[in-house]
């Protein structure tokens, strides 16, 4: 009896070991499978076996990506993941970044900072990636900022909070526009409308807290008083209580700062409790799914956004138009869903990395990092980037367009 028990145990252990070793081999997602259709002659792509390396083949670049593909920030992370994989495939089809094939390792953090931290450590220490794209949210980005700085790995965050790049960390950059600029654009519209008393609702995560802080800091500059500021949990499902408090204060407008589906809830609840004042959202509203979830209640929402969502209406001499239209068409044909500004942030991050590798003429981390700081005039989806030693974001207030929702679709906001 005992020998049989031991035998069974032994078989189980061997089985687990086999499964374990099998799993480890298949983790990196290889977009390098597709053979390039029209590769230029001098960039002859090498056949797959890694042992054979003809002189023309340059060392492949490993990039890590941490996105919130599931969880409350899924409307950000899922488009980012799809965009990153699509873009890297396109790059590899054209021979790679300056001749280097790109291997993209995508990880799902589910929007949780603790998961992001362990994923970042794994990517930096075990995989030794050149750069990490993402994370999707400000809370996660702040959590891994120091890890990347100390690990001397470039971080190209897809999150909005200004605190990611201010205070400055030499290896940390971000591609979305600054939340302080978003706040400024909102206040400008408020001032125009003659509104002086507002209520602020924000989620209790990194993005919401950072946004609420910026709003509080900048409000006096535009003569606006924040009569009441409330935070709610990211998983909140009912905002009628919070909005009733705002209504009781007699606010003239509501500013909601979050990236979660609560954005749709705010719009709906406001109408249901008969709080009929203008609703301003942050640039976290840039996914049509929030409008669809809000139904009729979403009409009339005003928010700052990158030009991607209204790319068709841009004049043909607009520097961004070509990049935006191409990205939009590629994304929508391939994934059969509307493009969002969030996917664009991942696109910009990879684009900037590619440009830096080209400029540096090398794939050494320090040289690429220094090259990013010298990039001027890189046309991305978020805007035209101008980096410097002091500016690791590269975008200003003009990267935003004020948009509104008309009949369930995005439209440019006109006074």
């Amino acid at each position: 009896m005992r020998t049989r028990y031991v035998k069974i145990l032994g078989i189980c252990v061997i089985g687990l070991a086999l499964i374990g070793s099998g799993c480890k081999k298949s983790t990196p997602t290889p977009p390098t499978k597709t053979p390039p259709a029209k590769a230029p002659a001098e960039k002859a792509p090498a056949p797959k076996p890694a042992a054979e390396k003809p002189q023309a083949q340059a060392a492949p670049i490993k990039i890590g990506a941490i996105f919130a593909i599931t969880g409350p920030a899924a409307f950000l992370g899922a488009p980012e993941q799809k965009t990153a994989e699509m873009f890297v495939e396109q790059i590899n089809q054209q021979g790679g970044m300056s001749g280097h094939k790109v291997t993209l390792l995508v990880k799902d953090s589910a929007g949780k900072a603790e998961t992001a931290i362990s994923l970042a450590k794994q990517l930096i220490d075990e995989e030794k990636v050149l750069a990490i794209i993402g994370p999707s949210t400000s809370g996660e980005s702040m959590a891994i900022k120091n890890i990347c700085q100390e690990g001397k790995t470039i971080l190209l965050s897809c999150a909005a909070a200004e605190t990611i790049v201010d205070p400055l960390a030499s290896y940390v950059f971000k591609t979305p526009q600054k939340d302080s600029d978003a706040a400024r654009r909102i206040f400008e519209v408020l001032k125009e409308k003659g509104i002086t008393k507002v209520g602020v609702t924000s989620s209790s995560d990194g993005f919401g807290n950072a946004g609420a802080a910026q709003l509080a800091k900048l409000a006096p500059e535009y003569g606006v008083t924040i009569a009441i500021a409330e935070t709610y949990a990211t998983t909140e499902t009912d905002l009628t209580g919070v909005l009733t408090k705002l209504k009781a204060q007699g606010v003239q407008a509501v500013i909601n700062w979050t990236i979660t589906p609560a954005q749709s809830l705010v719009a709906k609840n406001m109408k249901q409790i008969d709080l009929n004042v203008p609703l301003f959202q942050s640039h976290g509203f840039g996914n049509i799914k929030y409008v669809q979830a809000g139904g009729e209640a979403a009409n009339g929402t005003i928010f700052p956004c990158g030009h991607l969502l209204v790319a068709e209406t841009l004049p043909s001499n607009d520097p961004q138009k070509q990049v935006l239209m191409k990205y939009k068409q590629d994304y929508e044909t391939r994934f059969k869903e509307d493009a969002s500004t969030f996917g664009g942030h991942a696109y910009d991050a990879i684009l900037i990395l590619g440009e830096a590798v080209k400029k540096a003429g090398s794939v050494e981390t320090d040289k690429v990092r220094a090259a990013i700081e010298t990039l001027q005039g890189v046309v991305g989806t978020g805007g035209v980037f101008r980096f410097s030693e002091k500016d690791h974001n590269g975008l200003g207030k003009d990267a935003f367009e004020m948009l509104t929702v008309v009949d369930g679709k995005f439209a440019v906001y006109t006074k």
Binding site: I69, T70, G71, P72, A74, F75, A78, S204, E230, T231, Y232, A233, T235, E236, T237, D238, T240, G241, V242, T244, K245, A248, P261, S264, L265, A267, K268, K271, Q272, I273, D274, K289, A293, G294, G295, E296, A297
Partner: protein, 296 residues
């Protein structure tokens, strides 16, 4: 605070409270017949809502909801037969852990079948901007649906348990399983039926709140925790007490939001749970002696 404001907060409180009450009633049905706390209860709400949302594209709304309720009930029964029945002689603690595992399993399955997006059923009457006025407070008509469906469900269950043979058989099982067996009641089927009933009313509750709270695959767990708090607050096994306790918790949360920072809302349920477990573990409405006489 003036009357309309109080009514507004009150309505917001009892809306969310009635959902907690339904989840707690689901807990109580299963606890009564088996002594297990079924931590997968929250997932039944979400499975029901997701199913109805998928079916809604194909059949009219009422039919989609009816089908979702039936299918979720069958799912509940199947889960019981596959996972709980074989482990019948295990201790209650093991069975509870099995239900925790089931909740994780169902959640992951939902993620794979339906993906991570947020969806909702359409409003039963009106749209997302409809609003009606009651005593000066404004609410969405869907809120009335939530309250109505909860009330009808609880009333229906009370009638079922008190006046129908099947309901009384289930109560007999809850009281003393051995004696019920000796009376000719098939206790195994009573257990399966209790799971099916719990899953079915969970699905109905999930459908009716879907327009209000929106549905995402991972919303089941927080609901289960709040429902569990309410069930404990009222006293395990006592469904009417669960309803009162649910409304109480909902009103308490609304009160906290109105007087203090809204950020503290989530803490209310946990604080209540801790206080109840420390000071009155048998629940508010169950006399201590009777509660301690119950053998789990």
């Amino acid at each position: 605070m003036n009357v309309p404001l109080i009514v507004q907060y009150g309505l917001s409180g009892i809306t969310v409270g009635s959902i907690y009450a339904i989840v707690a009633v689901g807990f109580n049905i299963i606890y009564g017949t088996t002594g297990i706390i079924n931590f997968a209860q929250g997932e039944f709400l979400i499975v029901g809502a997701m199913m109805a949302i998928s079916l809604y594209g194909v059949v009219p709304l009422w039919l989609a909801i009816a089908l979702a309720v039936i299918v979720t009930a069958i799912l509940g029964g199947l889960l019981e037969m596959v996972f709980i029945r074989p482990a019948r002689d295990a201790s209650v603690l093991r069975l509870i852990v099995i239900t925790i595992g089931l909740s994780i399993l169902i959640r992951e399955a939902m993620l794979h079948i339906w993906d991570e997006q947020v969806r909702s059923l359409p409003y039963f009457t009106g749209t997302s901007i409809s609003t009606i006025t009651i005593l000066g407070a404004h609410i969405s008509p869907q809120v009335l649906w939530v309250l109505g469906v909860s009330a009808v469900t609880v009333a229906g269950l009370t009638v079922f348990f008190r006046f129908t043979l099947l309901g009384r058989a289930m109560r007999a099982c809850a009281d003393d399983r051995m004696a019920a067996c000796l009376c000719g009641i098939n206790d195994r089927w009573m257990v399966t039926l209790s799971f099916m009933l719990s899953a079915g009313i969970g699905a109905l509750a999930g459908c009716v709140i879907s327009p209000v709270t929106q549905t995402q695959y991972d919303m089941g767990a927080p609901l289960a925790i709040k429902g569990f708090t309410v069930a404990i607050l009222g006293g395990l096994g006592n469904s009417t007490a669960a309803v009162v306790a649910g409304l109480l918790l909902g009103l308490l949360e609304a009160f906290v939001v109105s007087q203090f920072a809204a950020a503290y809302k989530e803490a209310v349920a946990i604080v209540v749970l801790l206080l109840v477990l420390v000071f009155r573990p048998t629940g508010l409405f169950v006399r201590r002696e009777i509660g301690e006489l119950r053998t789990a």
